[in-house]
């Protein structure tokens, strides 16, 4: 616990105070001198802390997977998103439309990675803290109404997650327009909003290989089967209630 806290604090520091140095060395854009971004006061994304230990989701998800996933993958999305934003700001300031457009794919990918993982961590919870406990409340009723039962929803998400080609996410979404729950998939790091402006993510499951490969190897369906043991339905219920209130 202490180690994890130490690290995430360190990464927060890296993301805020020392970021301009990292940008200068990796962005490949010499026009961006260190310190400029601080003067402009650009708001940067930061790696969120996890509300549990890396090993707390075992045996469903190994501590090693959680550590790499949080410290390396999510951190890289945060770093690259901030770099892209900084380059975007410079491009806008110079009226360089080509550069503004060219940066869109990096912003979508890295910004999406940051958004998706920030939700994902909140969707998980250790078993001894209530992970895997089925939803009661209004979300439980809505699931029964829209899918028949929680089991039917789980089966649908597992099937769509297993069938997703390449990397991506499978989502339980609230369609605010139709006041209805739907299951959606998105490719790569596309956030759910790319599937529709009315869609609110209640629960996202990462089906990139990095989310399960060290433990489940090529057997994605086993990962999907086990992840339900550590799903935090309370978080999904809270979002649902807030959005439907």
């Amino acid at each position: 616990m202490a180690l994890r806290t130490l690290f995430t604090k360190k990464s927060l520091t890296l993301a805020s105070a020392f970021r301009p140095i990292a940008v200068a060395s990796t962005a490949g854009d010499q026009r961006l001198g260190s310190g400029l971004s601080q003067a402009r006061g650009l708001t940067v994304a930061a790696l969120p802390d996890l509300p549990y230990d890396y090993g707390a989701l075992e045996p469903a998800i190994s501590g090693e997977i959680m550590r790499l996933h949080h410290q390396k993958h999510h951190q890289a999305y945060v770093t690259n998103y901030n770099n892209a934003l900084e380059q975007l700001e410079a491009a806008i300031a110079m009226g360089d439309a080509t550069a503004v457009v060219r940066l869109q794919s990096a912003i979508k990918f890295n910004g999406g990675g940051h958004i998706n993982h920030s939700i994902f961590w909140k969707n998980l919870k250790p078993v001894n803290e209530g992970g895997g406990e089925p939803p009661h409340s209004s979300l439980g009723w809505a699931i029964d109404t829209d899918f028949g039962s929680l089991e039917a929803l789980v089966q649908k998400m597992n099937a769509e997650g297993a069938a997703l080609q390449g990397s991506g996410w499978v989502w339980l979404a609230l369609d605010k327009g139709f006041k209805k729950l739907t299951v959606e998939t998105t490719a790569n790091q596309d956030p759910l909003v790319t599937k529709g402006a009315n869609l609110v993510p209640l629960l996202g499951i990462d089906v990139w290989e990095h989310a399960y490969y060290l433990q489940y190897k090529n057997v994605r369906p086993d990962y999907l089967k086990n992840i339900w043991k550590v799903i935090d339905w309370k978080y999904a219920s809270e979002v649902y209630e807030k959005e439907t209130a």
Binding site: L68, K72, H73, A76, S105, F109, Q165, G166, S167, G168, A187, N188, Q189, W208, E209, H210, Y213, L214, K217, N218
Partner: protein, 300 residues
């Protein structure tokens, strides 16, 4: 019989263009109607083994990675493909042709992902070897220097493609022949220099033969290709692949085939053009009439 061994690793484009409206489910149904037992005995595509032992790429690519990557992922694609094409019109085609036809001009049919991944993995295993790396020579090196400026610039571009393939996919070095896949586009002064080397990236299973490129080298950047050995460090994997594993001999051999194939196609195109010219001269009167019609409408 392995009906894909002859074609798949040369990257030769199938001679038959895909039918205009290839409808997967319909064809399957028709096949079932024609054949009383809804099945026929056809050659199964086989899982080809890498041309080296599974541990011989260590320490750069571990035996465990190959056991999963070849032994599970590649094998599963072969099994799924055989399963999906059994009893359809794709059954019995060469692997290249299955890839192009099932790509279905950008609306892939269910077998595409498996056909393309079988192709890609066969090609990938033959793109690397124990004691690989180094520098190419001969015609390959000449073309790399001509088309990229230098060998290092080509490596840089290849690495960038591999690192910016956002998600699962592949990066490629391909030979781009001077031909557009449309009937009425003709280069008025074709020359050998129009054919050149290009670096590409493709998402998930997509293979450049569907865009009429001739693949020379591929790196798999699905995470399963490197995660057990390099975890999240894709950049390290790509560098080691280029420094220690790539077989420039294989790339060079493929280039020879690509150049020969492009020359053959240029000759075929020339013959076809001459035949078309002869046919056109008979309908010239009609075209002149249409042209003057157009001029009138523009003048108004």
């Amino acid at each position: 019989m392995q009906h894909h061994t002859l074609s798949c690793c040369g990257g030769v484009r199938p001679s038959l263009p895909p039918p205009l409206s290839f409808r997967w489910s319909k064809i399957k149904r028709e096949r079932c109607r024609r054949l009383p037992r809804c099945a026929r005995i056809a050659a199964q595509l086989e899982l080809k083994a890498p041309p080296y032992s599974l541990s011989s790429l260590e320490p750069h690519m571990s035996r465990e990675t190959l056991e999963y990557h070849w032994g599970r992922h590649h094998r599963a694609h072969v099994a799924s493909l055989n399963n999906l094409i059994a009893g359809t019109d794709l059954d019995g085609m060469g692997l290249d042709e299955i890839v192009v036809v099932s790509y279905n001009k950008g609306n892939p049919l269910p077998p595409f992902v498996h056909a393309a991944q079988v192709w890609n993995h066969d090609f990938f295993w033959q793109s690397i070897k124990p004691g690989g790396g180094g520098r190419p020579s001969g015609r390959l090196m000449e073309l790399i220097e001509r088309d990229f400026g230098s060998f290092d610039r080509m490596l840089e571009e290849f690495k960038r493609a591999a690192l910016t393939q956002f998600g699962s996919g592949w990066a490629w070095l391909v030979y781009k022949a001077n031909r557009l896949d449309v009937g009425n586009a003709v280069n008025p002064c074709p020359s050998e220099k129009d054919n050149k080397l290009v670096v590409l990236k493709s998402p998930n299973a997509v293979n450049p033969i569907v865009w009429d490129y001739f693949p020379l080298l591929a790196i798999d950047v699905w995470e399963h290709a490197y995660y057990l050995d390099y975890e999240n460090r894709r950049a390290d994997y790509v560098s080691i692949f280029l420094e220690k594993l790539v077989s420039w001999e294989a790339v060079s051999d493929r280039l020879d085939v690509a150049i020969e194939r492009a020359a053959e196609r240029a000759r075929e195109d020339e013959t076809r053009r001459q035949e078309d010219d002869t046919a056109v001269s008979h309908s010239e009167a009609v075209e002149m009439y249409l042209d003057s019609d157009t001029d009138d409408s523009e003048a108004e």
